[in-house]
Structure formats: C-alpha cells, structure tokens
C-alpha cells in the first residue's frame, strides 16, 4: 500500500467519502464530504469510483510528504496549494513523485478543499463508509505523523475530463432551500424576513452544524423531537438558525423551517464564518 505522511495537520482535515447510508435509525449521522460536488469532481477527474475517499481540508491546510508516487487532484476551495513550493491549480491532474511535499497556503476562495488521490484513500470501512466521524471511527481529524494509505495506481489518468462543472456555487452567496415540515407555521412576515435578511455562520460552526449569527424573530414552539437531515434549518425559540450539516445529529426538537437543496448544502460548506449569505426559498416542482 502506498502512503502519504502528515508533517503538519493544519486547522482541521479529515478523510471523507459520500457518507454512511442505512444507519440513521441507530442515531448514526450520514457524514461524508461537506461539499459533495467538489469531492465528486476530484474523483471524477482522476477516474476514481464516486465513493472513493478523499481528504477534506478546512481553511488552513496540512503539509504532507508523499512516500510513494501518486496522481492527485485538488478541488473545491482555492487554498493556494503548492507542491515543492510550486503553486498548483485546482481541478487539474498533478503527478507527484515519491518524497515530494504538498502544502497549502493562503485562501483565495471557498472554505473547504478536497484532495483526491488516484485509487482513493484507504481508511477502514466502518458501517459502510470510510468517512471519519466522531464517536464512530477511531480518528476524526488529521494528526501529525499519521500515514494515510492509498492504492498504488496501475494506470495513469490522463485529463479525460477537464472541470466539467462550474465552480460558481462555491462563491455564490445564495443558498437554495425548500420549505421544511414546519415552514407553514411561520407568519408571512417571518417568511419574508427569512428571505430578505442576510445571515452568516458563527465561529463555532463545524461539520455537525452551522449556527447563524443573526436572529429571526418567531413565535414557534418547540416540537416533539423529530427526524432531521443534513441541510435541515432549525429555528430555536431565541430565534437562532441552526443549520445541520453532514455530521449533524439524526433527530431534533426545534421547528424545521427549511431544508437546503444539495447544492445549497455544498455552497454553505464553502462559506467562512462571517461571510454573508442569503436563503432563497424555492418551491417543490
């Protein structure tokens, strides 16, 4: 098995695939890449399976040494990645020689970058997924000295695809959402405020959930605890919006006013704390 060694862990990085399915009834979060579009793009460009595990890098990246040759692609946020000090482009296949050092620098756009390796990272499959998740897998974040195994690839990928989808969703300030189960309980004025007001993520936000700094006045009562999903926007009695993300819990007791679209979740995953965003409620077809 080929390996990449972590020299510096950076702010927060973890191994993620598309998540675990079929275990929410046991209280197990789905997990998986916060921005599934960027993770999927990285695998697609390399010709990996769509469920291959990638490294999710949040804001400040790790520094790592490839102990074996590899082909890699970086997608999502532009965090000025460098190989041996030489700046790299996102969405391009890069050939890495054994011993070369990959590092991540200054943020140019987005919040989370994805590093895919041809063949996929080989973290242990637990409950159907390679995704790291607190309380479920032995690790939930990258640490100094870790050696991440990946499959040594036999064939080299050539750029069969260039970046086929636009990265506009990464910089968009608009988050699409569908009406949630309790949306109709909001007053018309409250619905209007939800769409008009700018929100931004608080510092405490993480893979479990994003709390908004701005409040939305409301008179909704707590509900009987009910199922929630990644992308469920809960409204607390004090008016705080809590948006559940990929590692979010499976049930919750606050009214679920809107449900983000998949693109909405991916866009939100790319917002740094404090960045303005607007929720656009769209109707079901």
């Amino acid at each position: 098995m080929a390996e990449v060694e972590i020299i510096q862990p950076g702010l927060f990085s973890s191994i993620q695939d598309l998540g675990r399915y079929g275990y929410r009834e046991f209280g197990v979060p789905t997990g998986g890449a916060m921005d599934t579009q960027a993770a999927g793009m990285a695998n697609l460009l390399l010709g990996n399976e769509s469920e291959a595990a990638v490294l999710e890098i949040t804001l400040q990246g790790p520094k790592m040494r490839f102990l074996d040759p590899a082909q890699i692609v970086i997608t999502g946020a532009n965090l000025s990645p460098k190989l041996e000090g030489k700046e790299l482009e996102n969405n391009k296949i890069i050939n890495v020689e054994a011993g070369e050092i990959l590092s991540v620098g200054r943020r140019k756009s987005g919040y989370r970058a994805y590093l895919a390796v041809k063949g996929g990272l080989q973290s242990k499959i637990i409950l159907g997924s390679r995704s790291w998740s607190p309380g479920i897998t032995p690790h939930n974040r990258l640490e100094r000295g870790m050696k991440l195994p990946f499959l040594r690839s036999e064939s080299e990928s050539s750029s069969k695809y260039s970046a086929v989808k636009s990265d506009d969703y990464i910089t968009s300030a608009v988050i699409e959402a569908f009406p949630g189960p309790e949306f109709e309980l909001l007053l018309t004025s409250e619905k209007e405020m939800l769409s008009k007001r700018h929100f931004s993520a608080a510092k405490e936000s993480n893979r479990m959930g994003i709390q908004c700094q701005e409040k939305l006045e409301n008179s909704l009562q707590p509900i009987l605890t009910g199922p929630v999903l990644p992308g469920t926007v809960q409204l607390t009695p004090s008016g705080t919006l809590i948006i559940l993300m990929r590692d979010g819990q499976t049930t919750g007791g606050y009214p679920r006013i809107v449900q983000l679209s998949e693109t909405g979740i991916n866009t939100l995953a790319q917002k740094i704390p404090g960045q303005k965003l607007q929720i656009k409620v769209i109707n079901y077809k």
Binding site: Y21, E25, P227
Partner: protein, 243 residues
C-alpha cells in the same frame, strides 16, 4: 379534521410521514409497523428510515424523481391492507450502578424532591421503560415511562463532558449516554452496557419497541461487567415478549 398520516416532502430526497403528535404506545406501534412494511416492500436499498415518536422519515442517498409517489403508493397499499402488525418486543435487563462515584446529581435531586437516595433508586429501577427511538447520539435511546415523581429540569449549565454510560434525568425523560458528550441531564448513575458498537452490524442491540428495566448493581459488579464488555464477552440479558 386533518387526516393522518400527513405526507410531506423534506427537500430533494426525503419524504416525511406524520402521525398524530403525541407520545403513546398506540402511535409508536403505527410508526414501527409502517417502517417494517416499507422495509419489506421494495423501497430502494439505499434508503434510511428514521422514526421518532410520531414521525417517519424516508431519505434516499440520491435525489430521486419519483420518490414521493413511491412512498405515497406504498403508504396507500399499507393502509388498505389493514393488517395490524405486532411489534416484536424484548424486555432487557440493563444494569445501572447508582453509587455516589457516578451519581453526580443525586444529592441535588434528593434535596429538591425530598426523596431519599434509596427511594429515587427504587422508583427509577422498578419501572419498565419503552424504547421509542434512537437519536441525538449513536445508540442514544429515547425512553418513555419515567415516573412523574422523578421528573426534574435539565441543568442550567450543561456539563462539557458527561461520561460514557452516564444515566441521567432531563425533564420527563431518562436515558443513558452511549458515549462521552456534552450534556445537560442530571446524572444519577452509570450503566456499563455497550449501547452502540460500530464494529457490529447492526451497531445497536436494543431497538425501538423493546422495553428495558434498570437493575441496580454495586461498584464491584459494574467493574466486572465493564471488564466483560472490554473482553467482548458481554451478552445482553433479555426475554422475548409477545405484543
């Protein structure tokens, strides 16, 4: 009159079925019967079915165009068949050590409720609790049946870390923390049993519809069971029940 269950979409890949908003065994039986029916009747494989007191959520791995009609048709078939499913229930004996080493909030509850420690343990361990669903944390069981005398508000300042296995009381509920986590419930004991094991499939032994009874154990017994769990020798003690 609203007709139950109501069927609502929840985003691009999930459908929510709502029964009457109440906590009752009757509703639980409806919810779990419908879940069983959906699982047995060809819902696509990559589906999660999450249930709570009165709600059932079907969520797909990918956005599916006709998910809504698939669930809706199955629901219609289910309601036409008019079969009342018996929920297979098992009664689990769950050991709890109420020793002061674990029972961080026992003194406070005892004083506030004017109940002795012995009375609190007696009340807590003589009841049979029904498992309504699993949520909040992997393996966290929502139990119904806490005696009213033991209802007690959550702590004003939640603890940063509640120990794995901690047995707590929060408002009208009691439960066991399956892993260390921040938490606001009042802690009155600790159970050494493994409620969630990611290395096993399914990862939880105790299911919605099962019932549990807490059995007081000493510190020494708690230690012994912990050791059994560590070695992988632990087996749950339960008996089958019929409806």
């Amino acid at each position: 009159m609203a007709k139950f269950p109501k069927i609502k979409r929840m985003g691009e890949r999930a459908i929510l079925l709502e029964f009457e908003p109440e906590i009752s065994l009757e509703i639980l039986e409806k919810v779990l019967s419908l879940k069983k029916y959906l699982q047995e009747n060809s819902l696509k494989e990559t589906v999660d079915i999450t249930t709570t007191y009165n709600l059932l959520l079907v969520s797909y791995e990918y956005a599916i165009e006709d998910a809504y009609s698939e669930v809706f048709n199955l629901w219609e078939d289910f309601s036409r068949t008019n079969i009342s499913f018996k929920i297979e229930s098992r009664l689990f004996q769950v050991p709890v050590c109420y020793d002061e080493n674990f029972a961080l909030d026992m003194v406070e509850i005892s004083a506030a409720k004017d109940l002795s420690k012995k009375e609190i343990i007696g009340l807590h361990s003589s009841e049979i609790y029904t498992v309504y669903f699993t949520g909040f944390l992997p393996g966290f069981l929502y139990l119904g049946g806490l005696p009213q005398l033991l209802h007690f508000p959550r702590k004003i300042h939640p603890r940063q870390t509640v120990q794995k296995g901690a047995v707590g009381i929060g408002e009208k509920q009691t439960g066991i923390y399956p892993q260390s986590s921040p938490g606001g419930w009042n802690i009155i004991g600790n159970s050494p049993v493994p409620l969630f094991d990611p290395e096993k499939n399914p990862p939880c032994e105790i299911r919605p519809g099962d019932r549990i009874k807490f059995c007081p154990v000493s510190l020494e017994e708690h230690r012994e069971i912990t050791e059994e769990v560590r070695k992988g020798d632990f087996n749950f003690n339960f008996e089958e029940e019929n409806g």
